[in-house]
């Protein structure tokens, strides 16, 4: 069984609703953002919070599909 199937089986076992799944996804996103921010702060120790947010938004936009 692949990772996707395992994830779906977990969702099924825990009887997660669509909102529950989005709640978990939100926690994952928030955790990912914290890690990204920490790394950016380390790489740009003198950057202001505003600049860190700019870099973060830039990084998050890489790989996003804008041609749909």
């Amino acid at each position: 069984m692949g990772d996707v199937e395992k994830d779906v089986e977990t969702v099924r076992r825990l009887h997660l609703s669509g909102s529950d799944k989005l709640h978990i996804a939100s926690s994952l996103d928030d955790f990912m953002i914290k890690i990204f921010k920490e790394r950016i702060r380390r790489e740009h120790p003198r950057a202001s919070e505003k600049r860190i947010l700019e870099i973060l938004r830039e990084e998050l936009s890489y790989g996003r599909r804008d041609n749909v």
Binding site: V4, D7, K21, S26, L28, D29, L60, S61
Partner: protein, 184 residues
């Protein structure tokens, strides 16, 4: 100190604002894929808008009133060129990614959309079959995993419709491939 905006609060605020601004919209992309499939990171909320040019100014003003940073110029240019435009909220890194109702994917999406309760509010969500077809058409590894998760998680999909639409969008082989991999 300002309260931190989580992805959940961002999504809730965005969809609530779209409702309050009386926008004709459809939730698609990662949020729909998570809703029907399994939790994964996304960090943006993809929305297809169906607006007339005469509604753009009022829409931009209404969204701004709800705290979203929307550049009217980007919105109007985006509408005319049918290209994407974005909106941010406060100092949140999360992004609303807006596109326009155009093409067969969006048309089918709007026609079969479902009113769905999400975090307690009613939103217009793309139907799972149409999310699968869109993901197969876009075809990145992430998209194909999303399609697979939905096909695995949703037991009541309209298979006949899926096959018909997959043939129309020339992704029948991809759909068959995923079904085969799920049978293993």
């Amino acid at each position: 100190m300002e309260e931190e905006i989580t992805f959940e609060s961002f999504t809730l605020k965005l969809l609530g604002s779209l409702n309050k601004c009386k926008a004709d919209y459809l939730v698609v992309g990662g949020v729909a894929a998570v809703y029907y499939g399994r939790p994964r990171t996304t960090s943006d909320c993809d929305i297809i808008l169906s607006l007339e040019e005469s509604q753009l100014k009022e829409f931009a003003e209404c969204m701004k009133k709800h705290g979203f940073q929307i550049r009217e110029h980007d919105l109007i240019e985006g509408f005319r060129e049918k290209s994407h435009f974005n909106a941010y909220l406060g100092d949140s890194p999360f992004r609303a990614d807006f596109s326009w109702r155009k093409g067969s994917l969006a048309e089918h999406g709007f026609k079969r959309a479902k009113d769905t309760k999400l975090f307690g509010i009613l939103v217009r969500m793309e139907a799972p079959e149409d999310v699968v077809i869109a993901k197969l058409v876009y075809g990145s590894p992430q998209d194909l995993e999303d399609a697979k998760a939905i096909l695995h998680a949703q037991k009541k999909l309209d298979k006949e419709y899926l096959m018909k639409r997959a043939a129309e969008e020339k992704v029948k082989d991809k759909l068959a491939g995923i079904y085969r991999s799920l049978e293993k």
